[in-house]
């Protein structure tokens, strides 16, 4: 929960920015807000949980534009995390034009980004963590990594995640969980876990043959004189959303009954607080406390939602700490007689121009990047407009990728996965190899080219849309809608599967897509083994190099109805 005091101070900082129009200089903004302001917090009780999640390989500060649409359906419509822009600001009582407004919304994004600068950077996060550990005492603080840490950059791809493993080790986390980690393959995952000084917890992964646990589920820590159990929950639909052949022996799933057993076991072993370190996604974790009892705190990730305070579901607190290193989540707990009697929570925005870099971590980051730095900095083009990914149906980065797929593979229609990772470029910024790989770094990058009937295309759109908008969150897989190039459509998120997609139209000809007709389709990130074609990052490097300058992209081809 934001304390009123924090709000007042931040509001005071921003009072002079009322009527903000981009005229304020960055220096002025930085002088107003200090590292100490960011760290101000009304500490509570015996235990502090620090949460980072979905860093996606991002060691350096970055721009990340929050989405302009993030629809919820059914019971989850119009509540966090399904609030954007002014609705978000109003709900959380944040003034427009403030640093917090910039960290959490896309309102006046470009001006705000120019004023307040980049967020994140693991060296800045290291400073915050050290400060909090220093203030609270190591014996009270647990640092938990929610996963999607090892994948998402040029260097993470080239080092098989080792850059992230080495840098994260310096933060000395107490435990982690995973999702994209598994796309390095089972063998590599086990090899890294072997190197780690802290446990990789995942109670919901079992082997396919006998349904026996593959990983430790739980670790019990003693913090501030309190026994704290941390249970790990990996992304339940990893073998569906990502290639199952990369970890063929392992089965995932939400497995609430297994979780309940693990919670009960932890309680029986004396745990006074039970924390679920979860990669379920926000809505799954809003439902989870209604079917599993005894969890005090869920630190949730996967859906990249940055919600400025913990929300309460019954007696369970759910904290969602955003993505890409933009935020450090903090929740303090006061425990009496095996119960949480008081708490305070916040997401600390990691303003990179305000927070001093931790020198050891900065040196380590330079060190792991050194062999690749020149290549990372290589400029391949320039963006005239804003390039971003997040959004339920499209983002300009994916519009560009969809265009590249069509042109480079001579296709009629293109499909690009609805990933939520990937950073933002401001108008006028160079596009570097580093930038390109924030959108495309992965271990199954082949771009296929094949014929699909209109019926198949419709089935794919309906299928993915149901992953996003099924009214039962346990059936949501957590990504956004598949991005489409060369084809427009109308979508009704509140309908049922089979009735959401209509008016599919081939943009080039203006003709309706016919169910029985075949179309040449190019796409990437197929979960099928043996997919043939060039890697998406190579294809897009060629395409961007050829275009040189990317104009501001507009996408008016998707009509959303009923929201």
């Amino acid at each position: 929960m934001f304390t009123r005091r924090d709000f007042l101070q931040w509001a005071a900082v921003t009072a002079s920015i009322t009527g903000f129009s981009g005229s304020l200089t960055k220096v002025a903004a930085q002088q107003k807000l200090t590292q100490d302001d960011l760290l101000k917090f009304d500490s509570k009780g015996q235990v502090t949980l620090l949460h980072v999640t979905d860093i996606h390989g991002q060691l350096k500060p970055l721009y990340f534009r929050p989405p302009s649409e993030n629809y919820g359906v059914g019971a989850f419509e119009g509540i966090p995390p399904h609030l954007v822009a002014e609705d978000f600001l109003k709900h959380f009582n944040i003034d427009n034009g403030t640093p917090l407004a910039y960290a959490h919304t896309m309102v006046d994004y470009v001006n705000m980004a120019k004023t307040y600068g980049r967020l994140g950077g693991l060296d800045r996060t290291a400073t915050l963590i050290k400060a909090i550990r220093g203030d609270r005492g190591d014996d009270k603080v647990l640092l938990l990594d929610g996963g999607d840490t090892w994948q998402g950059s040029y260097t993470s791809l080239k080092t098989n995640g080792q850059d992230m493993v080495d840098c994260m080790a310096m933060l000395k986390p107490d435990a982690m969980v995973g999702h994209w980690e598994f796309t390095f393959g089972a063998e590599r995952v086990l090899e890294i876990i072997d190197q780690m000084d802290y446990p990789f917890l995942a109670g919901n992964i079992v082997d396919n043959d006998f349904e026996e646990p593959v990983f430790e589920s739980t670790k019990i820590f003693e913090k501030g004189g309190v026994k704290v159990a941390v249970i790990g929950q990996a992304m339940p639909y990893t073998p569906i959303a990502n290639p199952r052949w990369m970890f063929p022996e392992w089965s995932f799933g939400i497995r609430p009954e297994v979780l309940q057993e693990n919670v009960d076991k932890a309680r029986a072993a004396g745990a006074e607080v039970v924390v679920l370190l979860s990669h379920n996604g926000f809505d799954v974790d809003q439902k989870l406390p209604t079917v599993v009892s005894g969890i005090d705190v869920i630190l949730t990730g996967h859906t990249h939602d940055a919600v400025p305070e913990a929300i309460r579901i019954g007696t369970t607190l759910v904290l969602s700490s955003g993505s890409h290193g933009k935020f450090l989540g903090r929740i303090d707990l006061e425990i009496k007689g095996g119960k949480v009697v008081d708490y305070n929570s916040t997401l600390i925005p990691v303003f990179s121009d305000i927070i001093e870099a931790d020198t050891e971590m900065a040196a380590k980051i330079d060190d792991v990047r050194a062999p690749y730095e020149a290549e990372c900095q290589r400029v391949i083009g320039k963006s005239e407009g804003l390039l971003y990914r997040r959004g339920n149906f499209n983002g300009t980065w994916d519009d560009l990728i969809c265009q590249g797929l069509i042109e480079e593979r001579d296709a009629e229609i293109s499909l690009s996965p609805g990933f939520r990772w990937g950073t933002t470029l401001l108008p006028g910024q160079d596009i570097t190899i580093d930038d390109l790989y924030t959108q495309t770094s992965m271990n199954y990058p082949s771009v296929y080219r094949l014929e699909m009937t209109g019926e198949t295309l419709n089935n794919i759109l309906e299928d993915v849309c149901d992953n996003l908008f099924n009214k039962d969150p346990f059936l949501q897989q957590g990504g956004d809608m598949v991005r489409v190039g060369g084809m427009g459509y109308t979508v009704r998120p509140k309908e049922e599967i089979g009735s959401r997609i209509s008016d599919m139209v081939h943009l080039k000809t203006g003709e309706p897509i016919e169910a029985s007709k075949s179309y040449v389709v190019a796409g990437w990130a197929s979960v099928n083994e043996g997919t043939q074609g060039p890697a998406i990052y190579d294809l897009m490097e060629t395409y961007i190099t050829r275009l040189k300058s990317i104009p501001q992209l507009e996408n008016n081809t998707i009509k959303v109805v009923g929201m």
């Binding site: 999702h179 994209w180 349904e211 992304m235 639909y237 073998p239 569906i240 959303a241 990502n242 199952r244 089965s251 995932f252 799933g253 939400i254 009954e257 996965p417 609805g418 990933f419 939520r420 990772w421 089935n459 794919i460 299928d463 993915v464 149901d466 992953n467 346990f474 059936l475 897989q477 957590g478 990504g479 809608m481 598949v482 599967i497 990130a525 197929s526 979960v527």
Partner: protein
Amino acid sequence: MNVTRRQTFVIGAGAVAFATLGASITPALSASDTEKIIADFIGGKEPVSGKVKLKTPEIAENGNTVPISFTVDSPMTEDNYVASVLVVAAGNPFPPVATFNFSAMSGKAEASTRIRLATTQDILAYAKMNDGSVFLDKKNVKVTIGGCGG
């Protein structure tokens, strides 16, 4: 077509696991064939919920081999035991998956297996007690194309 013979397994004591039943060479059953198999099994009783608990994944990781299991709450005594359990995959070309037969000697009425699911559909487990009463549990399993999460 003699479905019940091919689809019936006699279960010994305790839980067992066995492989998927192939139905590829058998022509698809009509809806009325399936209804008849269910009607024959329940013998005119109205299935009620309770006692039998079916466990399935929410979403199949691999539609070709979906792990399912059931347990039936019963003392499994000579006077009060589970006689048999019929598992039906309502959306498959060949819906009756298997009939599991039990006796008081079985000790407990539970089993697990893997089945192939053609598409998103309901899985039904009918549990028939020795007194002829029938209990039903139903779970929907989603089969998706996958590949776009993250």
